[in-house]
């Protein structure tokens, strides 16, 4: 039966090539845009090296200090002391990575400027994040305590600063009037991974920020790594209790501290869409869904329009089948299946087109080191979009077709 439908569908598609072209054009380009978008979202939010442990990590990226009566408020990253002293004393996390936001500095080689983004980290950072070391190794707790001027650099920095040389471990790199000995080289990280991106990594003890200051705000963030995914709720609870227990006195200029240990996605959505009581993830997903729906609305209406026209063309065929006893349901199902075949065909073209678009994007270096790829998640989303598209644009014309009066349809020809 299905093979029969398939044969008819192909025959119909061949009959009016112009209509087939319009339908396939609309479907494939719409799906291409959806695939590229999904691939981009997947690139932004799913775990990839070095942040492979995202599913059992919680992120602390800001702290809010408020004075409830003076209505003053400061929000920002935390101090090293807060991370080390308060967050570091928590029981549930297996490890706590502490690191500064990347900060640009300038260095000049032969009068050519090189912007070097610096990140200061503790030793646990290298265990929580899984960087691929091309040569050398990370700095040890010992080296951090001694405030040794050592650094781990990215592959790109190696190329920019030292040129094409096989090994740079042991060489010295100068920026901001300081000399650092290179002890390791790691793979590049795209700038969209704000927690792990940097050009050079330094022990936190070399930070020019005052790391001994007992204030709460500074330039540091943290990743709390749980032993397993199931520990995350317990860890969040402990974090809230830890914040509640922080002693505050009247000399501080604030009387309320708010902070959250969020999952990767929630860490971002809370900043833009969330507040104290909600992470904003639901809102974010709703907005994405709404935008996608609105975007697909126009191509869908267009397809419904074309389909309704085409179906009238086949009124004699339908009338004959009806006259010989085919029920409306059978005819409707046949038409929907035909339409699904059309959309799946469009989907295949769409996947081919998006492979080209993604290849162009990856090569353009619009976002350096970003590699967008089609994986099973992206393909699944595409298949879903295809089905949605095919059903939505097939149902109305099929319904109209099934209501066709046999007598009029046969007479008109």
């Amino acid at each position: 039966m299905l093979t029969n439908y398939f044969k008819i569908a192909i025959a119909v598609l061949k009959r009016r090539k112009f209509f087939t072209f319009i339908s396939l054009f609309g479907i494939s380009i719409t799906l291409t845009i959806i695939i590229v978008l999904t691939a981009f979202m997947d690139f932004l939010f799913s775990a990839a090296a070095p942040e492979t442990k995202r599913d059992r990590s919680l992120y602390v990226n800001m702290l809010r200090l408020e004075h409830t009566t003076k209505s003053s408020r400061q929000t920002g990253p935390t101090s090293f002391y807060y991370m080390d002293h308060y967050v570091g004393s928590m029981k549930t996390p297996e490890k706590v990575a502490i690191f500064s936001m990347f900060m640009p500095t300038n260095t000049y080689i032969n009068n050519k400027k090189l912007v070097i983004n610096i990140k200061h980290t503790n030793a646990a950072y290298w265990a929580v994040e899984e960087y691929k070391f091309l040569e050398g190794k990370p700095y040890t707790p010992q080296q951090i305590n001694n405030a040794e001027k050592v650094t781990v650099i990215s592959e790109e920095t190696k190329k920019q600063y030292f040129g094409d040389v096989p090994s740079v471990v042991g060489k010295f790199l100068e920026t901001d009037n300081e000399q650092y000995r290179v002890i390791g080289v790691v793979n590049n990280v795209p700038v969209t991974m704000i927690y792990s991106y940097a050009d050079i990594y330094l022990p936190y003890t070399l930070s020019k920020d005052n790391i001994k200051s007992t204030g709460f705000q500074g330039k540091f963030m943290g990743i709390l790594l749980a032993r397993s995914k199931d520990d995350l709720p317990a860890m969040q609870q402990e974090y809230q209790q830890m914040i509640k227990r922080i002693p505050l006195d009247s000399t501080m200029g604030y009387n309320k501290i708010t902070g959250f240990a969020d999952t990767y996605l929630a860490g971002f959505t809370r900043v833009f869409l969330g507040d104290e009581s909600s992470t904003g993830v639901t809102k974010f997903l709703l907005i994405v869904g709404l935008v996608l729906f609105l975007f697909m609305l126009l191509p869908t209406i267009n397809l419904v329009n074309i389909n309704s026209s085409r179906i009238m063309e086949r009124s004699s065929e339908i009338a004959v089948r009806k006259a010989f006893g085919a029920s409306s349901g059978t005819l409707a199902i046949q038409f929907i299946v035909e339409n699904l075949i059309l959309t799946l065909l469009g989907g295949i073209i769409g996947v081919a087109l998006s492979v080209i678009v993604l290849w162009l994007f990856n090569n353009s270096q619009l976002i350096p080191d970003a590699v967008l790829a089609i994986n099973y998640k992206v393909l699944l989303a595409t298949l879903g979009a295809c089905l949605f598209f095919g059903l939505l644009s097939g149902v109305y014309p099929a319904w109209r077709m099934s209501r066709l009066q046999v007598v009029t349809a046969l007479k008109s020809n």
Partner: protein, 392 residues
């Protein structure tokens, strides 16, 4: 004629309903696109209001000094400024707050000026800023030594803020409060587009960075002479790190920062244009196909009209006007929704922007519909009455 066309459309209302919906949605998409385009274009057309070529931002942090003494600090930063100014390649130097031109930082506060509640951008600039970026003062003057030791802090406001708070009246010498302190307006400056080319002018006021608050800024602007070579940047960096050995120093060019700032607006706009362009091509092809198909079903009717003397052009005109009536129906409905935006003041854009966008998108849809209808119309005008009538 029009009545007749309406009748024809009404007779096939079911078929035409989908076409109307399609045109309506396309119209709404184009209205959104044109609103943004018109809005950005009007902002882009405005003068920059300042000079950013050959101006660099120098940011420094963690400049740890042994002293906490205010006077020593002021002297230190004054001598830093003088040293940089004395370099032969440098035209001018000014200490600025973090809200410097094209920077990602924003700082604003809510104040009441002349009984009008205003959310305004606050800037901190020193006396040399006006000369450095060549501001245009509309009235009054920029900060100078005259302001040393003034009882009320001097403040300069921009034209947009003056317009909102004082209208046509003179603002110079007026006072208002910022964070509980009285300030007096000494000048009105032409709007600066220092947030990017496509950003509308915002209410802004400028505070003076005095000699003893040089230490608190963390940023300076350096204007260099055009003839200074590329090597000067590393020289400047050496000079700065020599004076501030512990600090992180970063030099950025305003021309590059402007491009980065503009791309925040441009990149989403380009993506939107690509997507909208695709949607429109899609709709155009669909419209074209449906019209073409409809014509082929009306061969007998058209053949009859030809037989009783209608010319080929008459037929084209009929097909095009039928489609135009159809388009008008959806545009009427679409305009009703679109007009709500200026009426309810959604998104806070000027009404002129919406109205221009409305006119543009109506013209666009009519143009699109005519293009899509002409070819099927031509096709219809080629129908020979003898052949068409014979078929039936």
């Amino acid at each position: 004629m029009i009545r007749h066309l309406f009748k024809l459309i009404w007779n096939k209302k079911k078929q035409n309903f989908l076409l109307i919906v399609e045109m309506l949605v396309s119209f709404m998409v184009m209205f959104a696109v044109f609103t943004l385009l018109v809005y950005y274009y009007t902002n882009y057309k405005r003068p920059m209001g300042f000079v950013y070529e050959n101006v660099w931002t120098v940011s420094y942090s963690n400049n740890r000094l042994d002293t906490k003494n205010e006077d020593t600090l002021a002297m230190y930063y004054e001598s830093l400024k003088r040293t940089v100014e004395a370099l032969p390649e440098v035209r001018a130097v000014s200490y600025v707050g973090s809200n410097s031109p094209f920077s990602a930082n924003n700082s604003n506060n809510s104040t009441t000026v002349n009984n009008v509640q205003i959310m305004a951008n606050t800037y901190q600039m020193d006396d040399d800023y006006a000369r450095l970026v060549q501001l245009h003062m509309l009235s009054g003057r920029w900060f100078s030594k005259l302001d040393d030791g003034a009882k009320d802090k001097p403040i300069v406001i921009n034209a947009t803020l003056k317009e909102k708070a004082y209208g046509n009246k003179n603002a110079i010498g007026q006072r208002f409060e910022i964070e509980g302190k009285q300030v007096v307006i000494i000048g009105v400056v032409q709007d600066l587009k220092d947030k990017g080319d496509y950003v509308a002018p915002q209410y802004s006021h400028y505070k003076r960075v005095e000699r003893n608050s040089y230490a608190s800024t963390g940023r300076m602007l350096v204007a260099i002479r055009p003839e200074a070579g590329a090597a000067f940047e590393s020289k400047l960096n050496k000079v700065l790190t020599g004076i501030m050995p512990t600090a992180n120093v970063e030099i950025e060019h305003l021309t590059k920062k402007r491009i980065a700032k503009n791309s925040i607006t441009l990149v989403p706009m380009i993506i939107l244009l690509i997507v909208a362009g695709f949607l429109i091509v899609n709709v155009a092809l669909g419209l074209f196909g449906v019209l073409w198909y409809n014509i082929s079903r009306r061969k007998a009717e058209i053949g009859l009209r030809r037989a009783i003397g209608a010319s080929g052009n008459n037929i084209v005109l009929q097909i095009v006007s039928e489609t135009l009536v159809l388009a008008s129906l959806s545009l009427l409905l679409g305009s009703f929704f679109a007009i709500q935006f200026p009426l309810l003041n959604i998104f806070d854009l000027p009404a002129g922007v919406y109205l221009t966008a409305l006119v543009l998108s109506i013209l666009f849809i009519y143009g699109l519909v005519i293009i899509c209808a002409i070819y099927p119309g031509k096709q219809a005008s080629n129908i020979l009455p003898a052949v068409a009538l014979h078929e039936d």
